[in-house]
Symmetry: D2
């Protein structure tokens, strides 16, 4: 059963000014404990180590994705586009609001360490016995499955999927603007209102009227800049490395039967891989940080050291390389062992890459990753065929190469390093 | 020993664009574990329950206070004001950076519950065996005491004290702008650059050139608006109440010998009042929230209920009253007992007040709380004597009265309440 | 006949992001020559001499007033307020768009000099044979009269009048925000979206829901600040004085039969007071400035001097006085004559005043100038009865006193001035 | 003789917050009549017809260019870069302030019509008998020539030239930010503070530290967007066409001995090509617009029509073509003649092009148009060799093709047009 609130509710939001809630279901979802938990999970994980302002949560972002989706749909309905069905409204809004509900604390690192995926957890939270599930099923039986299928991209109406997870989706639009605002960088800003005005549901896709092409170019450039200036910032990568190493060490210890001084539930289920949805939502950044604080006094020195590095921001330093060669890895691992360091813990090679826009080959059928323009003759054209600038950068794969290591430890043994290694590490920078 | 960094370091900041660090001491202080801990303490405590964007930390704010102070001093030195001594520069910057280092998690509530004061902790952290203390003493022996005395307002040069804790200090200027930015409200913005340009050290005070009077009026109005729109927002007050009740309950239980299922150090020292500075800095919001999450499964129902209310944002509702009468309190406490509720836990009367500007009486000597204008004849005049608008609002004490209570519990017993009580609570609002 | 555009048109606007036009009548009005002429009349007259960014026109402002009105009405219609009639929509929008169409170049000065009133010209342009008149009459016969009666406040529905010319009207809301944006000052900003959300048509007035009281306080404070920081800035007053003196001199010359070297139509009709609406719309700032440029070479020295002062910004300087006394005027006029200056041209006493909010006396019926709050019991209460801060400043009449004079001329004869006069003029400031 | 002001003066500016003036020479230059005249010349010419907010003047922009230059130099001096000589400070600031002083009203169109160049006029105003010239010569004899040689790029120190007219000069940085602000588009914003921090004088160029590469990429993208979204907007191009046609017609008439009803000096000197610098500075937009208003009543119908089109914004409409073919031109000119229109006045083909960044070929010596990075090994590298994204778009020449014509005239004769012509003009769009 779907009902409207007697009076519209609003949330004050720095990005969208106000987030408007008109449906009782949306209001109830926001008030579930699973959604409230998103307040305790930062949107940008450890980026706050690099940009101190980046302390915003997935709660804020989720409201933002919901609000952008609401505005797009409201524009669709005002224009009476025939490819949009008003019956899709609520299910789309729920999917937009909940698309990130399965995120754990410091997602990327925890997912890698424990081989879990936030998309799976999103579905479990929607479908298992949770408050979110109950609210959704009150709309109608099976509604939670409909919402989940949008997030899994198996929903029958591809326009709905495009809105929530397409190349111009509400998710990306919100996070670029929000992350730019909270970090304070200018790169992520683009003309949201303009893009909202030129989106249109058409033949199974959310497409862009050709007059809006430049606004989309600008959005792609903003996205590209945010990747290199913010998301891939080497200080952030270094802090993510700390996280991964902590989880790696703790798992090793747990499996080896090590007895932790401090160990709160449901950490054991996490290590065992037997977490229930109920337990999963107990995991938040407060929990992880509290564990690390306690582990700073663990007897295992490696775990204690790594936990301290993370909590007190004594991160590994980095060196940028002109290119990444296998020979560098061999060289440094060998050197590390020679001076008594553990290359599995004290050394990391990183090579992040990003593509501003996927290449599109003439004749090919455009995929879901391609942006389509609707031209004046109502023909669909893939973006890079019309935009010279997008054409130029299509398929461009940008990569940077870095080495991370604990400078403080190396300092004591630097004389034992070969000249080649010292040069590679540009080690003299650290000696005043 | 004071030394400059070989190259200026910057932090990207959304409010000040860049925070500039030139002194090695400042850089080292930022990298201490005590200062890094401020990342885990939100600037606005529980305000994020009302304004979801208000997730910024005291770390960000402390950098901001430092930066504003740096700019003021730099302006003083550029103008060669004779009342400013360049020797005060570093000690002032350190005090600005560290003035909030003693804040605990959710300070206001925890301070009330345990009768501690963040100012005391600030001094202990500066003076006891901490990383901060060590960095300060490297400047020169006794330097940490000089810094502490600024924060305690016992420093001999009142201009320095004024910069850090006066009526137009860097602290307030940063938090108004920063809190406005992160909450998204417009009320807190004022012309910082203009104010910085018109400040001047003069005869033992930081005074304002008369030409800047309107900018100061605007700042006072912004401050007033922020108090009523943000800091005293009843939803925030309600969440602070939850915190106080949790701490109150846990203390009662601890003193009564109750055996907690989950209880991490250094909670016992907190209850005992024997915390060391080392232990104190282990307290952060992660710790508090993790305790609360665990306590949701405690056997004591009250503690479990309150912890859940806080973690899942099931706060007490509020009713605004036209005035606060003792008879209301008597009436409701009596009614609460009649329906089986505990007025010590299920009821709260709140009456926050604020004064936009302290009244100044003619003939009186202006106090440190008064703002002084420097007029064209180089005379000092108290602000309200020149500004009609400040004169009008001087001494105005604004107050609002609220009752807070758990509507959900009252719903079940509402028929037992007297008509008078129902009317006072405007209880029918909650029944659809 | 009222018809919608086949596709909504938008104007990119820095204040409202986009101005949306849906009605053909609005589109056609914007394209009339009388409306396009507003591009050649600056919103803030000579304020650009003080704030170089203040170069925006009445065209931009008129679109803004229209857009705010459109949003308010659209909010009214979304909420289905019963006190609002959808039939008032178009006539209200037209009145909002056209309310300033009668403004001439540098209105305030020209109106004073020639005793004309822009409101009269607005009505003549609406009702006489103009393109605007023709577009309005196409809606239905007599429609131009309906629009004019809103601007003259004789329209039968007071809610419509309130929207266009009430104490919280779209006109003031746009100009505060726009003037703040273009000058670059921060004082004029307030939370427009919030105010739009709390406005409501009720019992013949546009009232404010009580929950929005603080936003209205903030708006009143912004208005107050803008008056003193921008609108009454003494440099702007001085440039307006130049204008008035030029018009005064030219009229004197015209009446005395002086033969101007350069004199374009319709200047004679302006001097004679026989301008038709057709001629009136030929007057714009380009015309006035071109006349002044030519007059810089007139034989009449006074006219040439004043024209040059205006065009080259060689304005009279000002001195602020603590109070305005008649004896000052007598003294200086006498001194001026003694040193051979003409007190009618070379001297001006100015005493601008403003009231932040009109006083409201208990028992009185609130006038159209008072803002009404709609409280939780659906009672209307005058703002100052609820807002302590508005109460404090009600009826506060703020004034400043200035003397303006040509410092350059006085310099040559300063030795002849009495000591009293020199002191009053604080003349030594100008001598290095 | 160079002297400092006793007190720094500031201008409130929306882009840079405050423009700071410390030198008496700069202050005096701003107060010359030639500089004040820039208030009457819009920065973006006729762009206000497209973006109504774009009403800002060259006066504002010139102050902005000065301010950015001042900040760069002040950064150079703070860092004690050895490639910067403090003796270049004042001459550089003067050149920055005055670089646009030769601009006439609606420069681009008037320059084309009369074959004049604003750079030549800039030099004449600096070197002939003007107030600007006098102020400059007071610094030292020959100083005006030094300033002029920077603008002509013949100054011996190429770093100074680079600051004022290089690929990352203060001129472009100010106009991108300012034009974005006044039009309200978001495309032109980039991180000015970041770019200022990474500029460095080095071996005869102003180069960019490699760490600032992304900020420069972002700046180039902003510039590219502004060209296509703002500067080349077809409505603006259409209004420039009107201007050119008016000047073309008036010149034809003047040369043919036509007797104008209204004709103010110094229009004859403009037509004759004998303008003096004194006369030139009398030309401003007020003058041009006043002439056009008068010409609306000229007997020559073409001149009257074109003047009216410009003043009342009845511009030619445009059609975008996929490509520009000679055959289109032949076809339409022939058709135009057939239906009795004059292809020299009633038809225009436009093909604006822009290059985001000049291609750089390996091995080549980088020209003044290339941006150089200073890498960690203190080597200079041309930007596109390091930036993949700049490399991708280097040499990309973007062009669009348009036809402009008076739709209103064509409407009456549309049946006489060939099908091919109708299709090319997509004429049916205009018929409802």
């Amino acid at each position: 059963m779907h009902s409207l609130l007697t009076e519209e509710k609003v949330f004050k939001d720095p990005i969208h000014n106000y987030v408007h809630v008109q449906d009782k279901t949306i209001w109830d979802l926001i008030n579930t404990k699973e959604f409230q938990r998103l307040r305790r999970i930062r949107q940008l994980g450890t980026s706050y180590f690099t940009f101190h302002g980046a302390e915003h949560s997935r709660f804020s972002h989720s409201l933002g994705v919901y609000e952008i989706t609401r505005r797009i749909i409201s524009q669709f309905e005002r224009q009476n586009y025939e490819d949009w069905s008003m019956e899709e409204r609520l299910v789309t809004l729920c999917a937009a609001l909940l698309h990130d509900i399965g995120h754990g604390p410091f997602s990327h690192s925890i997912e890698e360490a424990f081989d879990v995926h936030h998309e799976d957890w999103t579905c479990r939270i929607l479908l298992e016995n949770t408050e979110v599930h109950q609210v959704l099923e009150q709309v109608e039986k099976g509604f939670s499955k409909r919402v989940a299928s949008i997030i899994c991209k198996t929903y029958p109406n591809p326009i709905v999927v495009d809105l929530v997870t397409g190349p111009l989706d509400a998710d990306r639009m919100d996070y670029l603007l929000r992350d730019a605002y909270y970090t304070g960088v200018h790169y992520g800003t683009f003309d949201l209102d303009r893009i909202l005005r030129v989106l249109r549901p058409y033949k199974g896709r959310v497409v862009v009227k050709e007059s809006g092409m430049h606004a989309v170019e600008h959005y792609l450039m903003s996205r590209y800049q945010m990747y290199w200036q913010v998301y891939f910032h080497p200080v952030t990568r270094s802090s993510e490395l700390m996280l991964r190493l902590i989880f790696q060490r703790a798992t090793e210890l747990y499996r080896s039967g090590y007895r932790f001084k401090y160990f709160l539930p449901p950490l054991d289920s996490l290590f065992e891989g037997t977490l229930t949805a109920q337990q999963y939502v107990q995991l938040d950044e407060a929990f992880v940080q509290t564990m690390f604080t306690q582990w700073m006094s663990e007897e295992d020195e490696r775990l204690a050291e790594l936990s301290q590095r993370f909590m007190e921001r004594k991160l590994y330093k980095y060196v940028e390389l002109d290119e990444m060669k296998e020979s560098y890895k061999t060289l440094l691992r060998e050197q590390w062992e020679r001076v008594g360091l553990d290359p599995d813990y004290d050394l990391w090679f990183d090579y992040p890459t990003d593509m501003p826009y996927d290449v599109y080959r003439s004749g090919e059928v455009p995929s879901q990753q391609h942006i389509l323009l609707l031209d004046r003759q109502y023909e669909l054209v893939e973006l890079s065929k019309r935009s010279d600038i997008v054409h130029s950068i299509s398929g461009l794969r940008r990569g940077k190469a870095y080495i991370y290591y604990p400078v403080d430890k190396l300092m004591h043994v630097r004389d034992k390093l070969s000249e080649e290694a010292k040069q590679l590490l540009r080690f003299d920078r650290h000696i005043k």
